[in-house]
Symmetry: C2
Amino acid sequence: MSIIDVHCHVCPGDFPPAPGARRWPCMVCGAADARTLTFDEKPFRALDARSWDLSRRLEDMDREGVGIQVLSPMPELLAYWLPIEAAEALCDHVNGFIAGLVARGGGRFRGLGMAPLQDPARAVAYLPRLRLVFGLDGLEIGSNVGGRLLGDVELDPVFGAASAAGLAVFVHALHPLAPAAGSPQYLVNGAGFPLDVALAGSSLITTGLLSRYPDLRVCFSHGGGALHALAPRLDKVWRLSDGFEGASPEPPSETIRRFFYDSNVYSPSALSDLARSAAPAQICVGTDYPYRIQQTDIGAYLASADLSASQFESLTHGAARRFLQLA
Amino acid sequence: MSIIDVHCHVCPGDFPPAPGARRWPCMVCGAADARTLTFDEKPFRALDARSWDLSRRLEDMDREGVGIQVLSPMPELLAYWLPIEAAEALCDHVNGFIAGLVARGGGRFRGLGMAPLQDPARAVAYLPRLRLVFGLDGLEIGSNVGGRLLGDVELDPVFGAASAAGLAVFVHALHPLAPAAGSPQYLVNGAGFPLDVALAGSSLITTGLLSRYPDLRVCFSHGGGALHALAPRLDKVWRLSDGFEGASPEPPSETIRRFFYDSNVYSPSALSDLARSAAPAQICVGTDYPYRIQQTDIGAYLASADLSASQFESLTHGAARRFLQLA
């Protein structure tokens, strides 16, 4: 088995000094390899060397049967609250860090970087650097950008630039628009994250994204959240609204079959449904390594899905190769 | 076939004068039986006599094979923005109107009323009136209450009072927390509504609602939105958070099987999945009559779901009888 895992995160082990911006990431050392990522001295998450060092990561990959990990930033690092100069500096730091891991990884890693989407024009200018300077295959973006829906017209040029540069786009849950801040973390994480991913997908669908950029490759984390469950109602509303007032020439259920999704749904039967019928050949393995909620025993998880040999091959690596345009 | 339709709305054909409150409903007459519901002179929805008169409604029911409609307020009438005295006056007006339809309907109608949830203590005091004064079987509530999650601790006594009074609770999508105001109506309706219902269910699940009120009967509109798609992730987070920090003794997927849902998912295969495996015997027919998005040809829709005879019987009326505790 040679699995390509498109959903695994990294975080640099340290950061340059804050450039005068609020909520700049900072790493605080603990015992052994433990460190704590903080923002303005508020602890965000306890991490260990799996986030910045390759040796334990490679051991875990070998044990789990993962051939290639596609590294993306810990989503909080997207930091869409930063002013643009600080944001670009953080993008350079994180993208350079990922590029270094890929370069030292002996072919076992690919990379998705980040861009300063809080300023769409500057993000458009930044995007070519991801491939040209850092050698990355695409970028990770939040399921919303500081509260702005992904289908917001201001963000459209970013998707155009990603398409033009041949960059894969991985949409990851981040700071969900609902529930409101102050809700328990288990509600945000358990429900808010997948619902926000589904809203992100719906927002892009209703703007007709893939009709403008038919070659754009977009993958949604967490199996698309709940996007597939919305398809029949979105189709109904599409018909009643004359194709979202002309924005989308095809019904949502067809667009849904052209997006990619990761396998991170924690249920073999839900995974079977995704990979067999909801979006055949568009499901990539994604584990959320190395966080507490990650799907462990990935080989057994995939094997327990009810799939044909060709569906299984697509799931384990075929879809990921198409999403990332790997040879 | 004798279908019980738990999701159909009514709206009074007129309203008493505004009691000095902003955004009080007002009906503006048009040609023939057309009227427009307005709030502060802003048109909200064009309606016809199906909303307040029984004759066309009964014709439609006979043609569609619907034996009993369970009438609930047009959700906008819940009007959680009103100050409490105005809210109670509107509740009395709408509940009295529904009671009148039920009384004149020759056994073809049951009723779900409304209560002023913007003031939970007053709502608790109001709830017994629904059955004692108006003869209704329960109440409709929004998927959030003026931005407050249904699992908010302030609302808990309302559910306790509903359980104590033996009232069925129908949760209907309303003013979704996401996407933000100003989004196109087709995004709000197509994605925002079902996502908010799923968030409402998740919010109630994470507070352990049914462990406190095991006899409470709760039905979610739109097939629960996307709630079933979230179950495996909610289960995972439940395990990682020690049962939502002790709030819920059972995994979310079990609570999900104890809620009721309507059939309003616009896809026979999604309906089959709901009625067969997601929440067996807990799916009631719901059409969203008489609005534009309603599921028409309900008999054909139900018949095209892949169900056994007993599952079909539960779907058409058995589950609804248990939800409403009808003989």
